[in-house]
């Protein structure tokens, strides 16, 4: 595996924060190596249909960023890779990388013949399990790098080998093995490890996984996306019915001492945004948003005002007590306390969207290096010299604040790496 000849900044995580750190540092003239665990770059934002408050597609900006990566010789990146060990010190770290096999090499032309013959299916994590792909798959149509990958949890390997037979490019290597290698001369390291959606099954009263048609906000993004499991039609998962009446439950797990005791910063805007998806795609629909506080800081207030103008979107200050299946129906019954009118109420919905919070990636998986973490797993702003964090790895935030933070972290990383 190629070693960087010159000193470089290592960025861990190829989501919007990591990609921003990489391109911003590289365009200022510095070498960057990006390590991403998925087979593609773009992270969580790639799964979103639209951004708030402009309702524009994340891929618009990702496309530009990917172009910046493609044309910039200062950036190299490894997908399907993770950092396993960090040694050395600021200005001269040594970093051990484990790279999992993609089983598809760079000769892949994305002709898709392999997909046609592959007999195995896998749960599509990109769509949160709402559909499947073949065991050999393109992560999504806008994936970068635009190469197929094989999920070895599902592939039968050489005993099947049908894909190998049809691939005329020798692009498939079923015997590929995990490799590991060390990158030396790493000047500084930026952790841009991002977040996972808090596991809604842990919030028992909200019925996720138990009550049909209770989904998460991220699943809603996939339902609305043209490249999602329903080709962008907002249908409810259990029976494909077009949804007419939807509830959003804010702070699902967030601001809750039993779960995430912080606010995830983005869920209010996210639900307001997603309610516009429903109203736009299913014009005959109505939406209720159950909230504690509506947090739309700064100019986001304008977006709140815009959504409030839609009479079919109701905002109810109140805590949802429980969510249950309606009897003999796939509908969902939400029991909530209407705080303003001081009454306990029940209402029936076609579908319920849980505004699930962001959990630090470090909660799922411990990271190498001696990182100082706060109680919820977010990375402390100040670390040992030469170690930085960017974006939601540091604290919950939206895309803009993550990119601001990433740009700042890029400069701090440059200062340590190249001014020593």
């Amino acid at each position: 595996m190629a070693q960087p000849a010159k000193k470089a900044i290592l960025v861990i995580g190829g989501g919007i924060s990591g990609v921003s750190v990489a391109v911003e540092a590289a365009e200022a003239g510095y070498n960057v190596i990006l390590v991403e665990k998925n087979p593609y770059l773009g992270g969580r934002v790639a799964q979103h249909y639209r951004y708030f408050p402009k309702l524009c597609p994340p891929y618009c900006g990702l496309e530009i960023n990917f172009r910046r990566i493609k044309q910039n010789p200062n950036i190299s990146f490894y997908t399907l890779s993770e950092v396993t060990e960090i040694s050395g010190s600021a200005g001269d770290f040594n970093v051990k990388i484990r790279q999992f096999p993609r089983y598809v090499n760079s000769k892949c032309t994305c002709c898709s013949r392999c997909v046609d013959v592959c007999p195995e299916t896998r749960v599509n994590e990109f769509n949160f399990g709402m559909d499947t792909t073949k065991a050999i798959y393109l992560p999504h149509e806008m994936a970068f790098p635009m190469k197929y990958a094989i999920d070895d949890r599902y592939c039968k390997g050489a005993e099947c080998g049908k894909c190998v037979e049809v691939c005329k490019y020798d692009a498939i290597e079923l015997d590929a093995k995990e490799t590991s290698f060390t990158l030396n001369n790493i000047g500084s390291i930026v952790f841009a490890t991002g977040w996972n959606l808090y596991d809604m099954k842990k919030v028992d009263n909200l019925g996720f996984g138990r009550v049909k048609n209770v989904i998460t906000n991220m699943m809603m993004e996939r339902l609305a996306a043209p490249n999602g499991p329903t080709d962008g039609k907002i249908e409810r998962p259990s029976d494909g019915k077009e949804v007419k009446k939807v509830a959003f439950v804010q702070c699902a797990g967030s601001r809750d001492e039993n779960h995430l005791n912080y606010c995830s910063a983005i869920c209010c805007m996210s639900s307001l945004k997603e309610s516009t998806y429903i109203r736009e795609k299913n014009p005959d629909s109505q939406v209720s948003i159950f909230y504690i506080d509506l947090r739309t800081p700064g100019k986001y207030e304008d977006f709140l005002k815009k959504v409030e103008k839609d009479e079919k979107i109701k905002m109810i200050k109140g805590k949802v007590a429980k969510i249950e299946q309606a009897s003999a129906s796939d509908d969902v019954i939400v029991t909530f306390e209407d705080v303003i009118n001081m009454r306990k109420m029940e209402e029936r919905f076609d579908m319920v969207v849980l505004a699930a919070g962001m959990e630090a990636q470090t909660k799922m998986k411990s990271l190498p290096g001696k990182l100082q973490l706060e109680a919820n797993g977010f990375i402390f702003p100040t670390q040992a010299e030469g170690i930085y964090s960017a974006g939601v790895a540091k604290k919950p935030g939206d895309v803009t604040s993550s990119v601001q933070d990433a740009t700042a972290s890029a400069l701090r990383a440059i200062q340590t790496a190249f001014r020593k």
Partner: protein
């Protein structure tokens, strides 16, 4: 340069199975390429080596690669742009993956694309980057927390910084802060500010030059080498009509007052960080709602902070200690009469200040009347710690009435929305949580009532067309000697923030990056982060400019617009339409170029009726010549349509349609453009006079939530289309033959409908009468 064209047709990925490659090659041969060959697998090592060998042995310098999309395999077909022109003809995604195989129409489409690709390559020239010296110094305007952080970061990265601060001292609002919000986990306690330490760091840094008591009175030139004039406050001469920029004022549309200086100081910088900060909303405007100015014991949060800093948490009326304080959130905020936006920081600020009350006197209590408690992210911890304080009462509700008692205390009637009842609280002191206004807004103006785009005054003028209204912008802090005005455009409420979610540092003035609360309401910690980021953008701009390269979004582009001024008619469309204010005007009215301000979108090229503007690899003539190569079929039932598509968003959308095997009508010939803003109306005339039946522009959304990476490109295109009617009338053609659609990059699924509807519409109108001429 001599054209040595090599044409390479890949036959893989369905191309060879769908198309007659022999015929394609024959079509290409007509253009006399040095080499024209097909390859079974062009992106293989062998394929790439074939090209490399031809370059070496045959001296090929123009590579036409007819294969997959330019968006893939870029790493393989990566030939030095300063030596070779590489043109990717998209036969895969845009032809065989969206069209039926072995079909006459599919063949025609592929042939047209190949021919157009060859012409594009032939017409393209190698860029000659505009390399000029750069000054590796960053000017930071504003010496508050944002400016200080920017200057320090610039210096720590090995560059020089010049910090210009209007007031006597550095530190801005932070100097008056008793405590600041927690910036590290566990986010429970506010803490003293470290601003004094930072000021000392600035003062002791040999790479930072500080000018306090000074303002910038002139910004000229372009990134890499801005020429800055500053003036110390005591050398300012009372403002007069612009004189030092007579050249611009005479030819430009507006005159504005610009400060004059008896002892100006001039220097050069490579880039600018704009960190002019904020001011509190003028509370005198809240006298009606909240009795500010009427009752002595009603103060603002900024005033209260200063009281706390002095250790004087006392009633202004009589100096008695405060036992009960009441904080009113959103005072004049989220209110269209005052500030329509939320200032983001006031909830945290009042929580922090409520703790001051409790710290000063453990028997004292504080009430906070709020509508929505906004403590996003980990600030929630701080909110919780306040909730745990038994002396702090948080009440969701609104203030109905306030009255002053004889002893100066204030009685406040509150509508408690959680209890659904009215209540009265008596307080020694009322603190209004007033909001932040960017210093972009002049003192006599209101953020909710500003002129669009540029902050200024509308004046009425008598002209030959009668009375017209004209916007005279107000210089604030940059004093740009730019044709398009003295300051950065604002979006809303005076904030010169980026409109791009993923690119928060984008501004419409290249090389000038806004940071901190001047740009959007934010707290000190966020300002600091924002300012460090802005410092990197400034450094990046200097380094890219030094190499003759463009900054975002076409970062790395080494071309720039070139003007054939001999035929310029001084119509000024280019100087008016440039979204980035890159062009000024010479005294004779011809454009004055500033290549390093340019973002290379080509909007000027699209605007120019004389076709005098071109890039080395992109010109009006190039596309016109490509249009000439389109083979317009005589078949009256087969309308042929030219689609000009934005290469940033529409082009990828077509790619994704291809990947998904979405079938598209065979009638389109797509031509990628840098931005719809670069579409010159002459192309439409060229296409129509050739017999093309319709023209469709596909690009980004414009308007309030614009998605155009060049901000105004797609909007300019649309405005120009409005004027194309005249041309069509002359040709006696229907205006409906031309249309523009807005397509987000991810909505490729809408393409069949959009394209088919347009084909149907053109069929209804009937064939272009010029067909066959």
């Amino acid at each position: 340069m001599e054209n040595k064209v090599g044409v390479y047709i890949c036959t893989d990925c369905g191309i060879g199975n769908s198309l007659d490659i022999q015929k394609l090659q024959e079509a290409a041969e007509k253009y006399n390429p040095v080499i024209c060959k097909s390859h079974p697998f062009l992106c293989s090592q062998d394929g790439v080596n074939t090209i490399k060998n031809d370059i070496k042995e045959k001296g090929i310098n123009k590579l036409v690669i007819a294969a997959c999309s330019m968006r893939v395999n870029q790493d393989l077909f990566d030939f030095d742009p300063l030596k070779y022109v590489t043109e990717r003809v998209n036969l895969r995604e845009h032809v065989v993956w969206t069209q039926p195989a072995n079909n006459e129409n599919t063949q025609l489409m592929a042939t047209d694309y190949l021919k157009m690709g060859i012409i594009r390559a032939q017409k393209a020239e190698i860029p000659e980057p505009n390399i000029s010296g750069v000054e590796r110094t960053v000017l930071v305007i504003g010496g508050g927390i944002a400016g200080i952080s920017s200057a320090l970061s610039v210096a720590e990265a090995g560059y020089k910084a010049i910090l210009v601060e209007k007031s006597e001292q550095l530190g801005g609002h932070m100097r008056h802060m008793h405590k600041v919000f927690p910036s590290e986990p566990p986010y429970l306690e506010s803490k003293p500010s470290d601003i004094e330490e930072k000021i000392r760091a600035v003062e002791n840094n040999p790479n930072i030059t500080v000018y306090t008591n000074s303002i910038v009175t002139g910004t000229e030139g372009e990134p890499g080498m801005f020429e800055i004039t500053i003036c110390s406050n005591d050398k300012l001469v009372s403002s007069s009509e612009s004189s030092d920029s007579a050249e611009i004022a005479k030819s430009g549309p507006t005159r504005y007052k610009t400060p004059e200086c008896s002892e100006p100081k001039k220097f050069k910088v490579g880039a600018i960080v704009f960190a002019i900060g904020w001011k509190p909303y003028d509370a005198s405007k809240l006298s009606e709602e909240y009795d500010y100015g009427k009752f002595a014991n009603v103060v603002t949060n900024t005033e209260f902070e200063k009281m706390a800093k002095k250790g004087e948490i006392k009633r202004p009326s009589d100096g008695k200690p405060v036992k009960n304080a009441l904080f009113i959130q959103c005072a004049g905020q989220r209110d269209k009469k005052h500030l329509p936006y939320c200032s983001s920081i006031c909830c945290m600020s009042s929580l922090k200040q409520a703790k001051y009350i409790r710290e000063a006197n453990s028997d004292a209590s504080a009430y906070i009347i709020y509508q929505q408690m906004r403590t996003p992210g980990l600030y929630e911890n701080f909110y919780k710690s306040t909730q745990d304080d038994e002396g702090i009462f948080l009440i969701k509700g609104s203030v109905l009435e306030m009255s002053e008692e004889n002893d100066g205390s204030i009685s406040i009637e509150i509508d408690n929305s959680l209890l659904g009842q009215k209540m009265i609280v008596k307080a020694d002191l009322v603190v209004l949580a007033t909001g932040m206004v960017t210093n972009m807004v002049p003192d006599d103006m209101q953020p909710n009532n500003l002129t669009e785009e540029f902050i200024g005054n509308i004046i009425k003028k008598e002209t030959q067309d009668g009375i017209t209204e004209e916007l005279v912008p107000i210089p604030v802090a940059l004093n740009l000697k730019y044709r398009q005005g003295p300051e950065m455009p604002h979006l809303k409420y005076g904030f010169p923030d980026s409109h791009f979610i993923c690119f928060p540092y984008e501004t419409r003035r290249t090389g000038i990056y806004a940071a901190g609360a001047a740009k959007a309401p934010m707290d000190a910690a966020e300002s600091e982060t924002d300012a460090v980021g802005a410092a990197l953008k400034a450094i990046q701009c200097i380094e890219l400019t030094a190499q003759g390269k463009s900054v975002h979004p076409r970062s790395g582009d080494m071309t720039f617009p070139e003007f054939r001024l001999e035929t310029c008619t001084q119509c000024r469309r280019c100087t008016v339409e440039c979204p980035f204010g890159a062009l000024d005007e010479k005294p004779d009215g011809t454009p004055l170029e500033h290549p390093d301000r340019c973002r290379r979108c080509g909007t000027c090229m699209g605007a120019c009726p004389q076709r005098i503007i071109s890039f080395k690899d992109y010109s009006v003539d190039m596309i016109s010549s490509m249009l000439k190569e389109i083979d317009v079929p005589d078949d009256e039932d087969f309308p042929l349509i030219v689609g000009f598509i934005c290469e940033n968003d529409a082009y990828p959308a077509f790619d994704i349609a291809g990947i998904n095997g979405v079938q598209l009508p065979p009638n389109f010939r797509l031509i990628r453009v840098r931005c719809l803003g670069s579409v010159n109306l002459v192309w439409i005339t060229d296409a129509l006079s050739k017999g093309v039946d319709g023209v469709l522009l596909i690009g980004c959304k414009f308007g309030d939530d614009y998605q155009c990476h060049f901000i105004k490109g797609s909007q300019m295109a649309n405005e120009r289309l409005g004027k194309v009617q005249e041309t069509l009338d002359r040709l006696m053609l229907e205006a409906e033959r031309i249309d523009q659609v807005q397509l987000p990059i991810n909505e490729y699924d809408k393409l069949p409908e959009i394209l088919n509807q347009f084909v149907d519409k053109i069929k209804e109108i009937g064939p272009n009468p010029f067909k066959g001429f």
